[in-house]
């Protein structure tokens, strides 16, 4: 089908004098795995509920395939939804739960039974079809909710923190299953989560929200490597922040001063002029620690403040004179050099490693 994109146009929700969602415009192409990521209270669930039709937008409009659906009630939208806490009907067995949306659509036998079987197979629950939800584990209930939301082949599947109640290991498994399911079905998934790892590992695209506003949306890679604001840089993964003052250009490279040191930064933004204050975010894994200074680039001296061995990598905290404490990581197996508190050490990073971010905190 051509152009079945979901388009949000300046959609907003105001409760009293609190803006739960400020005017937001997004286009979610058909078949995309789209995540709404943000801390609690960021408006992500409200935005999802507006897409689902449970919350009426204060302003703005929703289009599906170019057709306005803003005023359609939830039952007219043909979206599937997996709720936080699953919302399984406690008085119905697994099979009856999955049958419910088919009953609503008046889908007759034997088609109904066939679809139920397929849906339960999809989530590997055929053997539990006649159990009541309360006799199932959290992970199993989550799958029932998924089967129930998929059995009527909705155009869009909305998921509200579907893995929130699962323990860490199970969450990893179900993430994989969800992703495989998405690839298999080609249904648009809109996924609300506060878990950055979940959003990064599963989604085609992520919108980061805060205080009812979408700060940035893009592929996980774009968001992680090119965060536009300090909040995004900090919320997705970890970042060290450096504040400095532009001192000039050296060829195509920006030179800035931070704590008395002259540092270099690769940037395409030519609008920066000397004297301007900038904030840079640099990921811990992009900083390299060496016993002595060797070569060009950005070098800062410091002393080891603390370190922790985390198996996969070593986390190191270095106190620098120029920019304060800096966190960095290095692969756990590379260095058997003794890490001693207060030991002098040199830090180095590529001028392309940090990104200049907007200070929005």
């Amino acid at each position: 089908m051509a152009d079945r994109d979901l388009r949000l146009e300046a959609i907003s929700k105001v409760y009293g004098n609190l803006a739960a969602v400020t005017p937001t415009s997004l286009t979610i192409p058909k078949g995309e795995f789209f995540a709404l990521l943000g801390p609690s209270g960021s408006g992500k669930t409200t935005l999802l509920m507006m897409i689902a039709g449970f919350v009426a937008p204060t302003d703005g409009a929703l289009y599906l395939g170019g057709k306005p659906i803003t005023d359609d009630p939830p039952e007219a939208r043909n979206f599937g939804m997996v709720f936080q806490g699953y919302a399984l009907f406690p008085h119905m067995t697994v099979r009856e739960n999955v049958r419910f949306p088919l009953w609503v659509r008046k889908i007759a036998e034997p088609e109904a039974s066939k679809r139920i079987r397929n849906a339960l197979e999809l989530v590997k629950l055929e053997h539990l079809a006649d159990r009541l939800p309360r006799t199932l584990s959290g992970g199993q209930q989550q799958r029932v909710a998924l089967a129930r939301a998929l059995v009527y082949q909705p155009e869009i599947l909305l998921l509200d923190e579907p893995l929130g109640a699962l323990d860490r290991k199970l969450r990893g498994e179900v993430q994989g299953e969800l992703k495989a399911l998405h690839a298999k079905l080609g249904t648009t998934f809109i996924y609300v989560t506060h878990d950055q790892d979940e959003a990064l590992s599963m989604s085609d695209r992520v919108a980061v929200m805060r205080n009812g506003e979408v700060l940035q949306n893009g592929t996980p890679r774009e968001l992680y490597e090119r965060p536009e604001t300090k909040f995004v840089a900090d919320f997705l993964g970890e970042s060290n922040f450096i504040t400095g003052e532009v001192s000039g250009w050296e060829g195509g490279t920006l030179v800035y001063r931070a704590g008395g040191e002259l540092l270099r930064q690769a940037t395409a933004d030519r609008s920066l002029s000397p004297g301007q204050r900038i904030t840079l975010a640099v990921r811990p894994e992009r900083i390299v620690a060496s016993p002595q200074r060797n070569g060009e680039g950005n070098w800062l001296s410091g002393r080891i403040e603390a370190w922790s061995y985390l198996g996969k990598y070593i986390g190191l905290k270095v106190r620098t004179d120029a920019v304060g404490s800096v966190n960095l990581t290095m692969p756990g197996w590379t260095s058997d050099e003794a890490l001693v508190p207060d030991k002098p050490i040199w830090l180095n990073w590529d001028p392309g490693a940090p990104v200049i971010v907007r200070d929005d905190r």
Binding site: F54, E75, N78, M81, F89, F100, R105, Y152, L158
Partner: protein, 267 residues
């Protein structure tokens, strides 16, 4: 230490038994009186008689009043259940400040003293021409019984996850389908206990009935009232004794029935 606990326990036990005896006291009066051979309310002296039982069970007036009360109770509780459940679901769904005021209004018939309600019904029904009619009595009983349904159903709804309704709507169910297939099956216990309360309210309602009914609609409580006031008839005691015995019988059956599941709330 142990002696003190045990003394306290004994006092509590004694108080509990005293309270139980007090609660059971009416039956200790009604049962002997019902067996009196005399033609007026009195304790039998030596000789007992089943004559009043025969009179009661063959009296068209008594049996008719029982049938009438049962009918009025059944219809009033049905009306109260339908309206009360609908109201409770609506209040639960919307749940705002305004609905809390509305809830207080709906519960008013239970809070206002019966005599005040009786006066109000009397005036209004008089103007509407509903006095001494089945319609009038049933409507009044329905209004009086509805708060009990609203309370029990609301209690059931309080345990129900609001997202169940959203889930059903999201899957395409209409409001009607959602209410009948999802909400009601999960609040059956509240509806059933509401229905029982509503029936009982109607079954032994006397104050309002006295005001709004004369000759055409004589309910069982009205018969008992007349029996005591007008002719001090021991048949009243027979009626009371039988009602208590039936209640005990029903409760005993319920307790004795093997493996009977207790109503479970949905958590």
């Amino acid at each position: 230490m142990e002696g003190r606990v045990s003394l306290e326990f004994r006092i509590v036990l004694l108080a509990a038994w005293a309270a139980l005896c007090f609660l059971a006291f009416p039956i200790f009066v009604a049962a002997p009186v019902s067996l009196t051979p005399e033609r007026f309310l009195s304790f039998p002296k030596g000789e007992i008689s089943w004559g009043h039982y025969e009179a009661f069970l063959t009296s068209d007036r008594w049996l008719a009043s029982i049938g009438r009360s049962a009918l009025i109770g059944a219809i009033s509780s049905a009306v109260a259940v339908i309206v009360g459940t609908t109201a409770a679901i609506g209040l639960w769904r919307i749940s705002s400040r305004a609905t809390e005021y509305l809830r207080a209004m709906i519960l008013a018939p239970m809070i206002i003293p019966p005599i005040i309600s009786a006066l109000a019904f009397y005036r209004l029904w008089g103007q509407l021409g509903w006095l001494d009619s089945y319609f009038g009595v049933i409507l009044a009983h329905s209004i009086l019984a509805m708060p009990y349904v609203v309370i029990t159903v609301s209690a059931s709804l309080a345990n129900l996850d609001m997202r169940l309704e959203q889930a059903a709507r999201g899957m395409g169910a209409s409001m009607w389908q959602t209410v009948t297939r999802v909400i009601i099956p999960n609040i059956k216990v509240g509806i059933a206990s509401g229905a029982i309360f509503a029936f009982i309210v109607s079954w032994d309602e006397i104050v309002v009935t006295l005001f709004i009914a004369r000759r055409a609609v004589i309910t069982l409580p009205r018969m008992i009232w007349d029996g005591i006031r007008d002719n001090v008839d021991p048949t009243v005691a027979v009626c009371a004794t039988l009602l208590v015995l039936i209640t005990i019988l029903v409760l005993s059956i319920q307790l004795i029935l093997p493996n009977r599941k207790l109503p479970k709330s949905n958590g």
